[in-house]
């Protein structure tokens, strides 16, 4: 049914409450939003029954991490306590990978109280040197 409205009876959209609602929604989304930092990943493969290979592999390279933060590669110091970039280790790993390929086994052997950041520093150096066959030494 068509309703004829006079000029005075014209229907108006109530803008005030609508703006209130929109502002409330805006405030909610502004408060609830947070900038999400993208996480990155350093991978390793754990030994399991399925992945055991019978192929002969070259002798493994052992990277020891001491509680003091010092890093040794086959018992040779390659990183001091505050050295986060571990350039000497990277150079050594790169030369080994160039010689034997990236299937060269590398075993990371941290002492029990070594902090995770220091282990990640070493894994980061391994990643930069294209080490693919990485594993952890299990302390008894």
């Amino acid at each position: 049914m068509r309703v004829n409205l006079d000029e005075e009876q014209r229907l108006d959209i109530p803008m005030g409450p609508m703006i209130d609602c929109v502002f409330l929604l805006l405030l909610y989304f502004m408060a609830a939003s947070q900038i999400k930092l993208e996480e990155t990943y350093l991978g390793l493969r754990l030994p399991s029954g399925d992945t055991e290979s019978k192929e002969s592999l070259p002798a493994e390279l052992t990277i020891a991490i001491l509680e003091s933060g010092e890093v040794l590669c086959n018992e040779v110091p390659v990183g001091a306590r505050g050295d986060r970039e571990l350039d000497v280790l990277r150079t050594k790993l790169s030369s080994v990978i160039d010689l034997f390929g990236n299937e060269q086994p590398v075993v990371v052997h941290p002492q029990p109280r070594v902090r995770h950041q220091r282990i990640v520093d070493v894994l980061n150096a391994c990643s930069a040197s294209q080490v693919k066959n990485l594993s952890f030494f299990a302390n008894q």
Binding site: L42, G43, S48, Q117
Partner: protein, 164 residues
């Protein structure tokens, strides 16, 4: 005494006169507000992964970015320096000891036999003795692929809990 020359009076607008009507340009403002609203609605995502916010991830510049978030079990390791202890959470559920996560990991391994991976989100201060227990539990559940979560850059300074 010289006569004062009639100065041209600056005409001032009387803001408080009754006939003065100010109108705010509402339509442009509403446009802006709507645009902002749509922006914040679109960038907001519901955090389904239930990752712990109390984990301060280590920094690694050469870690890989991975977009594929499927077939992953996430283990959080929150660190309490005062008590020298770790709070272990898997998919948001807390566990007392590392060996307690073996059954859910085995179940996860059965559900994702080929591509199943474990993401370890360990705080940068967690000592290796705790991470090692988790690695042993993951190995016991026959999952070979492990990823350590890192950040590419250092986080901005944290606001301590309680606003202090």
């Amino acid at each position: 005494m010289a006569e004062e020359t009639p100065k041209k009076k600056k005409r001032k607008h009387d803001f408080f006169a009754e006939d003065t009507v100010f109108e705010m340009p509402m339509s442009q403002m509403i446009d802006c507000v709507f645009l902002l609203l749509i922006f914040f609605m679109s960038v907001s995502t519901i955090d389904e992964a239930r990752h712990s916010k109390d984990v301060e991830l280590p920094v690694a510049k050469n870690a890989a970015v991975e977009q594929d978030e499927s077939d992953r079990a996430v283990i959080d390791l929150e660190w309490n320096e005062i008590q020298y202890s770790v709070v272990l959470k898997m998919q948001g559920n807390p566990y007392y000891e590392a060996r307690d996560i073996v059954p859910p990991l085995e179940q996860f391994s059965r559900l994702h036999p080929v591509k199943g991976r474990v993401v370890i989100r360990a705080d940068r201060q967690v000592p290796y003795e705790f991470t090692q227990e988790v690695l042993a539990a993951v190995g016991e559940a026959n999952i070979a692929s492990v990823l350590f979560s890192t950040l590419e850059t250092e986080l901005p300074a944290r606001v301590p809990a309680g606003g202090g």
